[in-house]
Symmetry: C2
Subunit: 333 residues, 2 copies
Amino acid sequence: MSNTVISTRVRLARNLKDYPFPCKLGEQGREQIINSVRKAITESHSAIADDFDFIRMSELDPRQSVSLVEKRLCSPEFISETQGRALLLSKDESLSIMINEEDHIRLQVIKRGLALDEAYDTADKLDTLLDENLSFAYDEKLGYLTQCPTNLGTGMRASVMLHLPALEKSRAISRIAGNLSKLGLTIRGAHGEGTEPQGALYQLSNQVTLGISEKAAVENLKNITLQLVAQEEQARERLCGSIEVQDTISRSLGILRYAKVMEHEEALKLLSNVRLGVESGQITDITCEQIDSLMTAVEPATLSVTLQKNLSPHERDIERAKLIQNKLKISQQ
Amino acid sequence: MSNTVISTRVRLARNLKDYPFPCKLGEQGREQIINSVRKAITESHSAIADDFDFIRMSELDPRQSVSLVEKRLCSPEFISETQGRALLLSKDESLSIMINEEDHIRLQVIKRGLALDEAYDTADKLDTLLDENLSFAYDEKLGYLTQCPTNLGTGMRASVMLHLPALEKSRAISRIAGNLSKLGLTIRGAHGEGTEPQGALYQLSNQVTLGISEKAAVENLKNITLQLVAQEEQARERLCGSIEVQDTISRSLGILRYAKVMEHEEALKLLSNVRLGVESGQITDITCEQIDSLMTAVEPATLSVTLQKNLSPHERDIERAKLIQNKLKISQQ
């Protein structure tokens, strides 16, 4: 299995019976939700709930909040208003539960690579655990009730993060995006709606939550993902035979290893090129995992949080270059 | 002494008495000149004339001729018409004698670094050797007679090749060029008149040959060179403190070490940046000598001659990148 799929994410939206949705909920009501969910996890004594940290969003400084978004552990909406919101986060950051986002509960599982079944199973376990201690708003006909009707039903969104440099460079992406929407799927730049795709990272997710089972939705997404990966691999074969592309890939690595100042956007572009080089076998002394972890580490707020410093944009560009140089050091054998 | 001065060149123009200038000379006459000069050298049994190769220009293929120009061993004019022209060239390429260029004899001495006195002494010895065996066209009042009046008198042109990245980047060069002309000196891009300076290489030379002794001309050039070097060094100090300049320097090295395709102009630009990095102490694992020899080696025709292959421009760009990568390899200690 190639590394074209960087990660898999399954998210479930749940709400508690007898409470209005968070937007209609006062301070006290939100606090009750937070406490109920927290208790359901921390007092469950279940293995899966063992290592969660409880974070009140109002107690984070802005860099820390933004870093959580950069790592895709929170939505941008979640940190835009911090009062009456909390996050349960597992130590390895693979499990997270946003409390009082759009819905009372948004639980999320992230796994490396293509792992839809595993991610769904884990999400399902966490869901069962919560369900045992809480009463979810559920309708026999509609399924789980959510604030936004697009989440009604399963309340599930499953997605994969894809690295599609070859389909992007050959401009096949927009045609593919059109076809996918007919299949109930959406593909968009990994940095969210309305942004330019950076680093050739794309998020493919299911859109339909009503009238389809979780299993069927996951199966559908898995099949389409495999087709997309095959298309990307074909496009890469054509692309990477060209010396110009090999030149671009190799120069990208050279610049990453030598630059003293680097902006975020450039870093993502170069890392994406190097990732293509690793996948095509041109670059052998770096792994995709190194690149993927750097792609997150170079994000502005995450960089500041890691360094525990308030940095000006220019200082950040210098620190980013240092970090990259350090992480991509030529190993002394 | 800094490496701002890359090389020193002294050239003497001489003509044989009783012969018209080459442009007025038929095939037979040119042949006589060639034979006389050749004999004067090869039969002199002088140490200095020991290791000269005799090259008939008509026997070289075009790549070889152009490569001689790229190495500054011939003038472009000299190779534009090859019939009745020959070159005497020492094995180390530091001494050369063009026969039947504009004048019957153009002898040239090249030395590394700033070495005007040494270069003049060597040229003078070679001149004396020729003078012993040939009769030069000389006028008591005018001095040596040359085809072009600008060479009348000493027939000498002394020049230094300078690397002036800081004066170039700070745009001080054009002001300096204006002042130099008032002092009887000319500064211009190393790739000759009417071309854009490449690689921040500049040639500073004396223009006055009449009414001034060789020694005085050499002294004048030396003093101005030292002043220019001091100005360049000051400008570098200001420039190289900036992280942006350090970034440019370091990225240039990265690209040189990683590119798979590289055009001549880009190579010169990047090598110039790296040379600045070596001189400012930022880059420590490369020497100026390495850079200087690369600056010649990457020239299009020289590259083809070195590889003994006829290369298309695109193949040449690939070979150029390979050569650079090889020469700038990180040493395994």
